[in-house]
Symmetry: C2
Subunit: 241 residues, 2 copies
């Protein structure tokens, strides 16, 4: 039998779910670039910094890995994911398909309350437009998850949230400083089309916009930035082996 010591400064596990909190925090940290892609995430250190044990961190890292924000390989430290450009393109392509489904589901079926919510959001976007980059970016992203939420389709919501967060990462890596002034106006047009049930128009605006972001706006630019050096080297090494 094992002899136990009194556990001095240990609170007896009050909360039901530490993992969720850590998950949210870590996720935000990654999306908002507080943790740059490639950053090492040893379970111990992360655990210490959140005041939880490896068990919790481990489950969180697992979730984030599934979502593509963290990459893990066996017996190696987890790192903040740093997707390649082609992965990035792939994510954007899937996103286009998903958002089209969102639009199709919503066209002509928005309640007035929902319309109101959307218009209010666009107003907020307009207000934040001139100044404050991060805020503006966040709002632009939220427009899409907001739409997805309104479908009430649980899976669709999850997938859109996932691709949206991955796109944030990708844009941070490969996007040019800032090129989203066009968004607000188009968001307005999407809402209008949605309200009058003009599915085709809504889809085409949305698709166009995402397409633009994925190609002209961002990915085709210069992909090499400081933090990618390591990735590039590893690619070359693999090819040379």
């Amino acid at each position: 039998m094992t002899i136990q010591k009194p556990l001095p400064t240990k609170r007896p596990t009050r909360a039901g779910n530490l993992a969720d909190g850590v998950y949210q925090a870590l996720r935000r940290a990654i999306i908002e670039q507080a943790l740059a892609p490639g950053t090492k995430l040893p379970e111990d250190s992360v655990g210490e910094s959140f005041g939880v044990s490896r068990t919790v961190v481990r489950s969180v890292l697992g979730r984030l890995t599934v979502e593509g924000l963290v990459s893990q390989q066996p017996n190696k430290r987890a790192t903040v994911a740093s997707p390649s450009i082609s992965e990035g393109r792939g994510v954007f392509q899937v996103r286009r398909g998903l958002e089209r489904t969102v639009i199709e589901t919503l066209a002509g079926r928005l309640t007035s309350a929902q319309t109101e919510t959307l218009r209010a959001h666009v107003t907020a976007e307009e207000r934040a437009q001139g100044r404050d980059g991060p805020e503006s970016i966040r709002l632009a992203g939220e427009f899409h998850t907001l739409l997805a939420d309104m479908t009430g389709n649980e899976l669709l919501i999850r997938y859109v949230a996932e691709v949206t967060s991955r796109c944030s990462l990708i844009l941070a890596l490969y996007g040019r400083p800032h090129s989203s002034e066009c968004a607000v106006n188009e968001h307005q047009m999407i809402i209008d089309a949605l309200v009058r049930g003009d599915e085709a128009t809504a889809v085409s605006i949305m698709d166009e916009q995402l397409m633009a972001v994925a190609t002209r706006g961002l990915l085709d630019l210069k992909p090499v930035r400081e933090r990618d050096l390591k990735d590039l080297l590893s690619d070359y090494r693999a090819a040379a082996k």
Copy 2:
């Protein structure tokens, strides 16, 4: 300090990754209905039956929960998911969108080797058509994941695999005994359209087929079957509380 006992019959952890094995096994068991929807999955029992500890089981259940094959709520036992009809519809809708993206990606871009593989698969489907339900169903499903694989889009592959497996669950719950004799022919037509780059036709056949499965073929039928009884009861009990 804690006093440790010698750990008598403990093997020193040979393998690097038990979780993957258990994951595969459990996943198959669920998809193939060896574990019916609603089956309780206590961490201890599952662990014992696979000869691993709760730690491993826990991570596996987490993964499966994300994929929608298992459902978990805090402090309750995990169960094999038993999606509602409306969830089912939602999954099918997302699936339609994803598969459309697959078709669009592939149209006019199939290599001859890929075409060969697809035709061979359809041949296998034809052979299995008359007899052996399970085999036939499995092949019909694999046609879709095979297509997805050919896109080379990692995320798309994962999503299609996920919705496909969820659809298996849903069909098992709400589908009529067997109504997939139409599939083979249409698969052939999709390949043809894909090869000659006729995106519109390929999309419409695929979409039509999935739509048919999701509405006429399956979901609108009688949703209540024996194994749902327990679920229904639990719903009522919860509502009555």
